[in-house]
């Protein structure tokens, strides 16, 4: 009895805050409702077929992959570089590390505001410089620039997280291996490529999945605050679309169907990750 009692709070939380709402979403994805919930019809898979027949939805999927891929690459590369430098013996290492972890604690909306202050076409400090360099900077009417802005802002937030993991990963590499390589005459780049990176692989793979999941599902706040998915649909990822269709347009059936698609995607990613990590551990 005691074990059950001890687990019960967690089970209740899971039920009320995950299973129940998720179940509601699954149910709603098979219905068509007016916003007030006065008329609810069961429509089977119609919401799903509508989604995949909608070229805009398919476009949004492609856009999400591009966006998430870019955020993952940028966030991980930058974090790796910083971690490599922070791993060395330098003065003030701890201050340096602490500062690098800061952005992780910044709320998405606030980080977006910081980026707006930097990059806003009219009032942004950075865009002023760009204008002086003769670059027509206006992410509100330029799709490519808009994508660049949301990728940068999202990646920036994730760098800290990656940094912590890379640094831990680097520190867990046995010094003896690196020393041995050094004695064999392997220089910086070669040592990095043949010793450090392979030994960092589990961390890298873990971060790859986590970053992809983060950028696909957890960047809504940043994008909504920066571009609201515009201009056109240039930065409308799947998450932004779920919000737009559900909360703003009150098309609950379609929005729920989209959430269910995302839920399936996230489950698939998690399965891949745990399979891979288990295999790694078994080796």
């Amino acid at each position: 009895m005691l074990p059950v009692a001890l687990v019960l709070p967690q089970l209740l939380l899971t039920f009320f805050f995950f299973l129940w709402p998720a179940g509601q979403a699954v149910w709603a994805s098979f219905t068509r409702q007016d916003p007030f919930g006065i008329r609810t019809q069961f429509v089977g898979f119609e919401n799903f077929t509508d989604l995949f027949e909608d070229p805009l939805y398919v476009e949004s999927m492609g856009r999400t992959v591009v966006f998430s891929g870019s955020v993952t690459v940028v966030a991980m590369l930058v974090a790796l570089c910083l971690a490599l430098f922070a791993d060395r013996e330098i003065r003030g290492r701890n201050i340096y590390r602490t500062l690098l972890i800061w952005p992780y604690a910044v709320a998405p909306a606030i980080s977006a505001v910081l980026w707006i202050l930097l990059l806003h076409p009219q009032i942004g400090a950075f865009s002023h410089v760009l204008r002086m360099l003769g670059i027509g900077w206006d992410y509100k009417i330029n799709s490519t620039q808009a994508m660049l802005v949301v990728v940068l802002a999202s990646a920036w937030k994730q760098v800290s997280y990656n940094f912590i993991f890379f640094l831990a990963g680097l520190q867990s590499i046995p010094r003896s291996v690196i020393e041995a390589a050094r004695m064999d005459g392997a220089r910086g780049w070669r040592r990095l490529r043949t010793i450090t990176l392979p030994l960092l692989a589990p961390t890298t793979f873990f971060l790859l999945i986590v970053n992809f999941v983060y950028s696909a599902f957890d960047t809504f706040g940043t994008i909504q605050a920066l571009t609201q998915g515009g201009p056109g649909k240039a930065t409308e990822t799947l998450m932004v679309k779920v919000y737009r269709d559900g909360v703003v347009n009150l098309n609950l059936g379609s929005s729920s169907a989209q959430s269910v698609v995302l839920m399936v995607a996230i489950i698939a990613l998690t399965v891949v990750q745990s399979r891979f990590l288990n295999r790694k551990n078994a080796e």
């Binding site: 068509r32 409702q33 007016d34 916003p35 007030f36 919930g37 006065i38 008329r39 019809q41 805009l56 076409p121 009219q122 509100k140 009417i141 330029n142 799709s143 609201q228 515009g230 201009p231 056109g232 649909k233 737009r244 909360v247 703003v248 347009n249 009150l250 098309n251």
Partner: protein, 443 residues
């Protein structure tokens, strides 16, 4: 131990509080609104005034965020059986609210049930039409209405050698003025437009008496189809696209986002709500004025009325609501429509008066002499004859339609498509939304 007593106290508190409420015995009216800042304070002032004016009910105003947030909150509350008594809903939500069936009690019905007379004719025609059924019965109560006008920077006009007292009246004159402003380097941006969909398509349709959608813009039924890809609209949008190309027009974002461009003195001409007056007066460090929206005389030499923006008040239903509460809602609406309250609301906020009596009282008080130009929106709203194209819009999911327009225009501004393609695409996407809406409310 201490924590336990606290918890126990919390559990008991609601029960302990109950008798106090019962003693007060005054039904409480909850009024959700979307007016922030100074506007919210005006709402509070009206409610305090109402509470002091009678002893039957007590109204509590609650700020619920932006218009769309208020709509979402009201819907969630209704689903949970906790709908507020009264909710402020933006004009483009009217179609959705009308389809809300048992969730709302329309004003004519409220008036009938409670015996509190709310006379539709007391409201100004252009305002009333947007919120009435086709036979003239009121569905919701007009509250804060504005219309869009052209704001222009007098200093920039002077600098460019343009007559500040003669703002451009036609679109051709606007284009010419913008070219002069640009050539004389009088200002960074000659023209911008906030609320692009509302001003450049919806208002344009109304004033030129051309259909925006079939079935009298949706007033005559749900089977309405969008029509804003016809020649006049295409011509107007390509003019604006051309202006963007030659640098005389700047697209600066959706909804109200372009407004700071004018207020900061960066743009010489701006189109936005007449209710922007307060913000402009506060922020602008230059001389400014408002003018009628420009028109195309070759399409309609006698421009019609413009349409309103803003919001109205809807009475909502919830289980266990008493007749006394409904009566309280009706008397609050009547109080808001009284000439003194309406006139003061109008003068303090920059919204137009919604009742004829409120307007006349403002004239009598000499308000328009004191603050010249404040009656311009009213004149524009009551100009010409109200036709089925200028009555307003009764389209479901209209906020979404506006977003589609924004998206397609943004693609066109970037040169990804022409005016015709942009409007065609917006119309066909919009029609899909309208069919979806039709299916969802037909049930």
């Amino acid at each position: 131990m201490k924590r336990r007593t606290l918890l126990a106290g919390a559990a008991v508190a609601p029960f302990a509080a109950r008798p106090v409420f019962a003693q007060a015995a005054k039904p409480k009216i909850v009024f959700w609104h979307a007016m922030s800042g100074a506007l919210g304070e005006e709402v509070n002032r009206i409610c305090t005034g109402f509470n002091a004016s009678q002893a039957e009910v007590e109204v509590t105003p609650v700020f619920k965020g932006t218009y769309p947030e208020t709509l979402t909150a009201a819907i969630a509350a209704f689903r949970a059986g906790q709908a507020p008594h009264l909710v402020q809903m933006f004009e483009v939500g009217t179609g959705s609210m009308l389809a809300a069936g048992p969730a709302v009690k329309q004003i004519w019905q409220l008036s009938q049930e409670t015996g509190v007379v709310i006379e539709p004719n007391a409201y100004i025609g252009g305002v009333r039409g947007y919120y009435s059924l086709s036979d003239g019965r009121l569905a919701s109560c007009p509250f804060n209405s504005s219309t869009s006008v052209m704001w222009y920077n007098l200093d920039a006009f002077e600098k460019a050698g343009l007559d500040p007292d003669k703002p451009p009246r036609t679109w051709n004159e606007v284009v010419d003025a913008c070219r002069i402003l640009q050539a004389k380097k009088a200002i960074e941006v000659p023209m911008t437009s906030a609320w692009f969909a509302w001003v450049q398509l919806e208002q344009y349709a109304a004033m030129h008496d051309i259909p925006f959608a079939t079935k009298a813009n949706g007033f005559e039924g749900l089977e309405t189809e969008l029509k804003f890809n016809t020649a006049p609209f295409v011509k107007h949008l390509s003019r604006i696209l051309d202006m963007a190309k030659e640098g005389t027009f700047k697209y600066a974002g959706r909804d109200g986002a372009p407004e700071p461009l004018f207020n900061s003195g960066t743009a010489a001409i701006s189109f936005t709500s007449s209710a922007a007056r307060a913000a402009i007066a506060r922020e602008a460090k230059f001389k400014w004025a408002a003018a009628f929206l420009p028109t195309d005389p070759d399409i309609n030499p006698q421009p019609n009325n413009s349409i309103i923006g803003g919001a109205s008040l809807w009475c909502m239903n919830a289980p266990g609501r008493t007749p006394a509460e409904y009566k309280g809602v009706a008397s609050l609406l009547k109080f808001i429509a009284s000439p003194e309250v309406d006139a003061q609301w109008h003068q303090n906020t920059g919204y137009v008066p919604v009742t004829t009596a409120g307007y006349e009282l403002s004239i009598k008080q000499g308000y328009y002499q004191k603050v010249p130009g404040t009656d311009l929106p009213i004149k524009q709203l009551s100009r010409g004859r109200v036709t089925e194209n200028s009555k307003g819009f009764r389209l479901g999911r209209m906020p979404e339609l506006r977003n589609i327009v924004y998206e397609e225009v943004e693609k066109a501004i970037q040169g990804q498509q022409g005016a015709q393609a942009a409007l065609d695409s917006a119309v066909s996407r919009g029609n899909r939304i309208l069919r979806e809406f039709e299916k969802s409310v037909r049930g």
